[in-house]
Amino acid sequence: MKSLVDEGVTTIFGHPSGMIFSDAASDHPFKYILCRHEQVAAHAAEGYYKATGRTGTVMVASGPGATNCVTAITDALVDSMAIVVLSGQVPVGVMGGDVAQEADVVGTTRACTKYNFLVLRAEDIPRIIKEAYYIARSGRPGPVLVDLPRDVILKHAAFKGDPKSVAIRGYHPQLAGHPGQIKKAAELIAQAKRPVIFGGGGIIHADASEEFRELVDITQIPTTLSLMGLGTLPTDHPLWLGMLGMHGIYWANMCMIHCDVMIAIGSRFDDRVTGRFSEFGQQCQIIHVNVDPTSIQKNVKVDVPIVGDVKCVLRELNKALQKVDRSWASDLEGWYAQIEAWKKQDSRRYEQRGATIKPQYAIDMILRLTEEYDPIISTGVGQHQMWTAQLYRGHHPRRWLTSGGLGTMGFGLPAALGAQAGIPDRLVLNIDGDCSFQVTMQDLCTLVHYRLPVKTFVINNKGLGMLRQWQRQYPSSPHADLAHQPDFVKLAEACGVGGIRIERPEEVKAGIEKAINTPGPVVVDIVVEREEMCLPVMPTGVGTVDVVQVGETARDTSFPGWR
């Protein structure tokens, strides 16, 4: 406990049990947020980390308590979220005997944590806690699990103070980039004719948004961001292209296809960004900055790899680029003109007409009406997530919470919960899908209990919209329509949360305003057009060239680009 205080832990998300933590957590200085499900606790810790920049802490029971966290831990691993999970374990003496609530948690989580520990001696706790937090937040951040047997915790070892520093001989994250590589990158950028900057979530983890903006401002290069990187460049920045990738903005993807130099920063070239690996980046030289050497050359062949912390590398790179004698903006005019031509086709275009609400309209209105509050926005996974990302309006990093790599439905509410717990005075919105919301909706009660005024907007198309969209191509895929959905308004009210339903386009604006002005948590059920498709789309396994545009598809039963 003392070790946790020394690590600066103030908030713990969790679910206690008789096995371990009822005793440990009874007399403590932390804000302990008891969630109704351990997955929620761990996602909340992710939201807390991403929103505040401080490592999230989770405390759960042995056996089912720990295994329930596995989804969220995997999510944190893929999206590089620094969380520490303290899990209870049965006493050392009976371990391996299949006793009540025993599970091999270290074995189970070996593949989904950055590292995990089993503590066998009470006197090791201070060192292990120190190492756990260090590993979680340094280098490429990630989840660390510490498995604590009951007898080890209860034993009163003399607390000899925390170790002052951490020395792990097999773990030395590389921070400074190689000067020669940085020089090479600067030279390549200086002579690029059609360059594009592509930023990812790593910029946020490295707290390097300022340096990133500086890079964009120095070089005047058009910039796109991955789903995880949203917020590192304000969406009203003149060089902002929009999100790229599978459901990315058309011209952002066109820039990736036609550029001659690609500057990828803090990204890992996920397949949802690149499409078919074999076709990606063939026409251009790629500069790739990442703190994790395994992310470089994994999927895409890179010309100038730079292993290092994004912040350190960008500082040096910016210094080198400032010395370059080039009138950037005027040199790139031809490139800008080409992009302007692509921009004539707005892939996010939607028309709100008729009596049903277009989901894009609802989301656009939520984002527009809340922009002045500079809110933190979390999402579930699916169509609503992609629409929100496409239409996103944000000016600062750490305001955008979404499950990218793993695509965990049910991420929205817990992440919003965690963010609100970390930053109580900022507006936190959860823009969710009806099915995503149902994965973790039991924790509405937690919002009430801890007075966390999260505003949830359920974009309700009565089914798994993204799957429904896919079914048009693969008719044999499983059912995406859910015939019986709960009444979200009644459900909210049953939990002690305000409930609002919006069914007609003319109610949208007033409904959203009412939700924002209602004190405490609110659930807004926005019933939208069921068959609306999320466009543009770059089907999986296809090159970036085959982006399907809006208007080409309308009500067809198949996508032209999919044949």
Binding site: V106, G107, R110, Y115, G170, F280, G281, P293, T294, K301
Partner: protein, 191 residues
């Protein structure tokens, strides 16, 4: 884009923390990435807080770059060296039980002699032999014994060590006191 390079056999030597679960981490990582381990051997080093792991893996250069980087990323792995590019000595020991009926008994012993194999157990119908050598020697021996009928075979997996630098030592007396260097020298000297 991935270029198709031919798959080659690589010997990786790893220095790892001597802790519970380290081998599981290495095996888990390699399995999760879909690579196949040909052999693995583990043992303590002179420093008992560390173990030496020797892995034999097949893969093209692209795969091997990833394997080495992924292994390096494991927190319990202190050092990874791919010995394939270096001049190294590799050895494996096998215990082999061969059918030895009366007409073949002399022939089997002659082959064993050529390969410097030692008989460690003998019955009226079998010989059990111990042999040490590199991959090619072991394979050649197995090919020769196969016609007699191999009843059982146990292999240790490959171990390997880089050859020490052949540059003439500047001061011989300094090295005399260093046990580890002397040891590696003597290994390097064996044919």
């Amino acid at each position: 884009m991935r270029e198709q390079a031919p798959a080659r056999r690589h010997i990786l030597t790893l220095l790892v923390e001597n802790r519970i679960g380290v081998l599981a981490r290495i095996a888990g990582l390699i399995a999760a990435k879909g690579y196949n381990i040909d052999s693995v051997s583990v043992g303590e080093t002179m420093d008992n807080s560390m173990s030496r792991v020797t892995l034999v893996v097949h893969g093209d250069d692209w795969v091997m770059e990833q394997v080495v980087k992924q292994l390096n990323r494991l927190i319990d792995v202190v050092k990874v060296v791919d010995l394939t590019e270096e001049d190294c000595i590799e050895r494996e020991m096998i215990l082999i039980r061969v059918n030895a009926e009366a007409p073949n008994r002399a022939e089997i012993l002659r082959i064993a002699d050529i390969f410097r194999a030692r008989v460690v157990d003998v019955t009226h119908r079998t010989y059990t032999l111990e042999v040490t050598g590199d991959e090619h020697k072991i394979q050649a021996l197995l090919d020769l014994f196969r016609p007699f009928g191999i009843k059982e075979l146990v292999r240790t997996g490959q171990i390997a060590i880089a050859r020490a630098s052949k540059a003439a030592p500047r001061k011989l007396e300094r090295e005399a006191g260093n046990e580890e260097q002397v040891e590696s020298k003597s290994t390097a000297g064996t044919p």
